[in-house]
């Protein structure tokens, strides 16, 4: 049923957006986590989204539709979380406890302004998915009252 799958679609959107919010929180929390080597330094993390096609959900229906394109799709999923390979910030702080022999410490490649913009974008998208779910709910409740008056 179409209305039922809207809940799955909006739910997948909410999961994906909250994971994105999670990485943003982690990035901002670790924005000032210094370390003495490039390997140990925290790197900004980004989720990779991809859309789910309906054929993946119901393999028994594959090939049944002759010459048709893929269906309407069934939401979004997170392929994985990748670490940014942007350059780390190297600062000269000889008095820092984590400074290396030359007196340098490495700071993460987190761009806090970018993260804040990302945070707003993901919270808006989350809200939108909640709205969709609410609308689908009221549509469903309405259909249950069919023929009652």
């Amino acid at each position: 049923m179409s209305l039922g799958s809207i809940f799955d679609i909006a739910g997948s959107g909410m999961t994906a957006q909250s994971l994105r919010l999670n990485t943003t929180a982690s990035n901002i929390a670790n924005a000032e986590t210094a370390s003495s080597s490039t390997e140990e330094t925290y790197r900004a993390r980004k989720p990779i989204f991809s859309s789910i096609q309906q054929a993946m959900l119901s393999p028994d229906q594959q090939g049944q539709a002759f010459g048709s394109e893929e269906g309407p799709g069934a939401g979004v999923r997170v392929e994985g979380v990748v670490e940014s390979d942007a350059e780390l910030q190297m600062r000269y702080e000889p008095n820092h406890p984590a400074a290396n022999e030359d007196g340098y410490v490495f700071y993460p490649n987190v761009n806090v302004v970018e993260e804040m913009a990302d945070m707003m974008s993901s919270s808006r998208s989350f809200q939108m998915n909640v709205d969709i779910m609410n609308t689908a709910k009221s549509m469903m409740q309405r259909i249950l009252t069919l023929g009652q008056q």
């Binding site: 049923m1 179409s2 209305l3 799958s5 809207i6 679609i9 909006a10 997948s12 959107g13 994906a16 957006q17 994105r20 990779i48 989204f49 991809s50 859309s51 049944q64 539709a65 002759f66 010459g67 048709s68 394109e69 893929e70 269906g71 309407p72 799709g73 069934a74 939401g75 979004v76 974008s121 993901s122 808006r124 998208s125 939108m128 998915n129 709205d131 969709i132 609308t135 689908a136 009221s138 549509m139 309405r142 259909i143 009252t145 069919l146 023929g147 008056q149």
Partner: protein
């Protein structure tokens, strides 16, 4: 004279189902608002309704053998088209979240309208049956 529900209810059940399908497609667009390379889609409502009416009128092709192609299924997906983006985006995504949201709301309102029509049909039938 027997009451035929198909005749009595008219096109409204099909309209309601078509609205439901459109809601699903639009919800999927919005869930993928941040997916790189995702292409926004929408259904051709006119084609959908025309096919529903054709099916209802009995002029559609029927399958009497397993070897026959299922024309109705192919038709169901060919109504699913891609949206023309208003402005290009760097990641290849063509979803305009605000537009999709307004279309979704509009679709929900149209759904309510179709529902109201169907509901009135039922109450009309009820009145005829009880004779009051």
């Amino acid at each position: 004279m027997a009451i035929s529900f198909d005749n009595a209810l008219g096109v409204h059940p099909q309209a309601l189902l078509a609205r439901e399908k459109r809601a699903e497609v639009l919800a999927n667009n919005m869930a993928n608002a941040d997916t790189p390379g995702f292409k926004a889609r929408d259904v051709d409502f006119r084609a959908m309704m025309e096919r529903a009416q054709q099916d209802a009128s009995g002029f559609g092709m029927s399958r009497t053998d397993d070897g026959h192609m299922d024309t109705s299924m192919g038709g169901a997906d060919s109504e699913l088209l891609y949206r023309t983006p208003h402005q290009p985006s760097v990641d290849g995504n063509t979803v305009d979240a605000q537009q999709e949201q307004s279309r979704f709301m509009r679709n929900a309102m149209d759904y309510q309208a179709s529902f109201q029509f169907l509901d009135s049909k039922f109450s009309g039938l009820k009145k005829a049956l009880t004779g009051q």
